[in-house]
């Protein structure tokens, strides 16, 4: 089950933000998407997740076309994304945020709300146990009852990650997960992403500017430059690619 992009194109007025990108991102691998600012990384994320559908081309996940589907439908199929700025559900506590992420839609109906159905309660208890286990794992068990808007930026980032896991994803799409995270915690984050992939087969597609972080954990790297795919390959190959060096470090003067 792979995430497959075929000639995906997205323009804003006259600006070509994503220029006929074709790529295969395996569902059980860690794939990195790098590129300088304005290369179209987040636009591509928005196209994949239905927030801003592509103008042309197709996107499929497994055997399903997902381009043109609404965001909630893409998420239901198992593609769970995070956002660059982790605002989250400001007035909900960490526990409430995690439970919200874990609740399937058939529990969130007015009929269940009025207590006319029994499915909600059992589900709620199971999710609560999972939330406690996960927060303990991430070292944020003491924050369970703290409101999201009272968390530090780093903790909010961690919550964003935990929330995505509670939604039982088939593949994670992480938009700059290492930004605003303390250097000491970046190591923990990369271990976690790697472990999820190796032990549970949960792959990710990651955008980040922190190249050393990405090079450590990625199985495959795609480089975007001005909307187009410049290079794809394993990290060692990408690191040695003169074109990539040029994009990141600028033209070498003769």
């Amino acid at each position: 089950m792979d995430l497959v992009l075929t000639e995906v194109r997205k323009t804003f007025g006259g600006v070509v933000a994503v220029d006929d990108v074709s790529a295969v991102m395996p569902q059980d691998k860690v794939t990195a998407l790098i590129g300088p600012n304005g290369a179209g990384k987040t636009t591509l994320f928005n196209a994949i997740t239905g927030f801003d559908p592509p103008d042309r081309g197709s996107i499929s996940f497994g055997d399903r076309r997902i381009d043109g589907l609404p965001p909630w439908r893409v998420a239901e199929l198992g593609l769970i994304r995070t956002f660059q700025t982790p605002v989250g559900f400001t007035t909900l506590t960490v526990r409430e945020s995690l439970l919200t992420a874990a609740t399937p839609h058939f529990v969130e109906t007015p009929v269940q709300a009025l207590g006319l159905g029994r499915r909600a309660r059992g589900h709620e208890r199971a999710s609560e146990a999972r939330a406690e286990e996960l927060t303990a794992d991430l070292g944020m068990a003491d924050l369970l009852d703290v409101r999201t808007d009272e968390l530090s930026a780093g903790d909010r980032k961690l919550l964003e990650f935990a929330r995505s896991l509670m939604a039982e994803p088939k593949m994670l799409l992480l938009d700059e997960p290492a930004a605003a995270v303390a250097p000491a915690n970046i190591g923990r984050l990369s271990q976690l992403v790697r472990r999820l992939c190796d032990e549970r087969g949960l792959g990710s597609l990651i955008i980040d500017h922190n190249l050393s972080f990405l090079m450590q954990i990625a199985d495959e790297v795609h480089v975007l430059d001005r909307g187009a795919l410049l290079a794809s390959g394993p990290p060692s190959e990408i690191a040695a690619n003169p074109d990539v060096m040029r994009v990141y470090l600028g033209e070498e003067q003769p």
Binding site: V87, T90, R95, T100, H105, V107, P110, L114
Partner: protein, 333 residues
């Protein structure tokens, strides 16, 4: 001034407004849909009830003369249908556009009532609406019966909305209000849930409508001018948007305050001045409450999750924090 019957009436009206404020809280407090069409939904429920139960002798074109116990749930359901008809197009809009649209729909409903005089008797109105148990208890004693009915309705509304608030449905509703993009990214069917909530609030308002009619006793279109919407909103904002107890407390504070202002004894020559400054005093009350309790008497923060904040836990002041809401309630008495 110390006439108990007068205060029984005030408390009855307060209980009715409390029910409406608690229903409004579901859609506006938790759902984040700022609905200015409460008067329209109340009109839909009221006229549905009145038409279904009206005396055939009044000469209305459709008067099935149903029992009030049948008509009551039917008006609630009908109001839910009307809410769906309004919500389906209006919920495509956001924020102030939604607010203006709901206000417009409420006015459309009121004008429809005026124009469709064959069915509604238009501006003539309908007097002497039947009330439950009024053959057993008559005269002034009936006011006590009415207070019990209104209080029971408010109690049921409290329990129902509390159940909604503590459910996964209510939680996701608040989550989508806080951050729609994140809710969508987690697979939440945000639009569908908002329409469901809007219809649910419509049903709750429609269920309250007959109690309002028992109190008013006669119906006419001008009862459903936008003023009633703003009174319900003022009550909820004073009490605390997002909190059920807020809707309850806010309605009692506002209605008792407004009626008490009317009791101020002035020279008959100056009565028009008193009438004129009454809205100013209500405005002053609102400003004062929001100055000292920006989230209202009760806030959503007190109603959900833990009352302990990170800072309080760090300094070990958690025990004092949990007593805050009670202290605030006493201060407002």
């Amino acid at each position: 001034m110390t006439n108990p019957i007068f205060w029984v009436g005030v408390l009855t009206l307060a209980a009715i407004y409390a029910s409406l404020a608690m229903a409004l809280n579901v859609e506006s407090g938790w759902g984040g849909m700022w609905d200015l069409g409460i008067a329209g939904l109340l009109a839909a429920g009221s006229y549905c009830y009145v038409i279904l139960t009206a005396d055939p002798d009044l000469g209305m074109r459709f008067a099935p003369g149903l029992s009030m116990w049948v008509a009551w749930p039917l008006s609630a359901l009908f109001t839910g249908l009307v809410a769906f008809a309004i919500g389906a197009p209006a919920l495509r809009l956001r924020r102030e556009y939604f607010l203006i649209t709901t206000l417009a729909f409420a006015e459309i409903i009121r004008q429809l009532v005026v124009i469709q005089a064959d069915f509604t008797r238009g501006t003539l109105g309908i007097p002497n609406i039947n009330r439950p148990f009024d053959s057993f208890v008559t005269g002034r004693d009936y006011n006590y019966v009415l207070l019990v009915i209104a209080a029971l309705a408010a109690a049921v509304m409290y329990l129902v909305t509390r159940q909604i608030g503590s459910s996964p449905f209510g939680r996701t509703l608040r989550a989508a209000r806080d951050n729609e993009a994140v809710a969508l990214a987690l697979g939440k069917r945000v639009n569908r849930m908002r329409i469901q909530t809007f219809v649910l609030a419509g049903i709750l308002i429609g269920a309250t409508a007959p109690v309002y009619l028992f109190y008013i006793r006669a119906i006419s279109p001008q009862l459903f001018a936008p003023g009633i919407t703003f009174t319900v909103w003022t009550a909820l904002v004073i009490g605390g948007l997002g909190s059920i107890r807020g809707g309850l407390a806010g309605a009692f504070v506002l209605i008792v305050f407004t009626e008490a202002v009317g009791l101020i004894e002035v020279d008959p020559a100056h009565i028009n001045i008193l009438v004129a400054i009454e809205p100013m005093l209500v405005g002053l009350l609102l400003v004062l409450v929001l100055r000292f309790r920006p989230d209202g008497l009760f806030s959503e923060r007190d109603s959900f999750g833990s009352r302990r904040t990170q800072a309080e836990r760090a300094s070990g002041r958690a025990a004092t924090a949990s007593s805050r809401p009670t202290a605030a309630a006493q201060a407002s008495d």
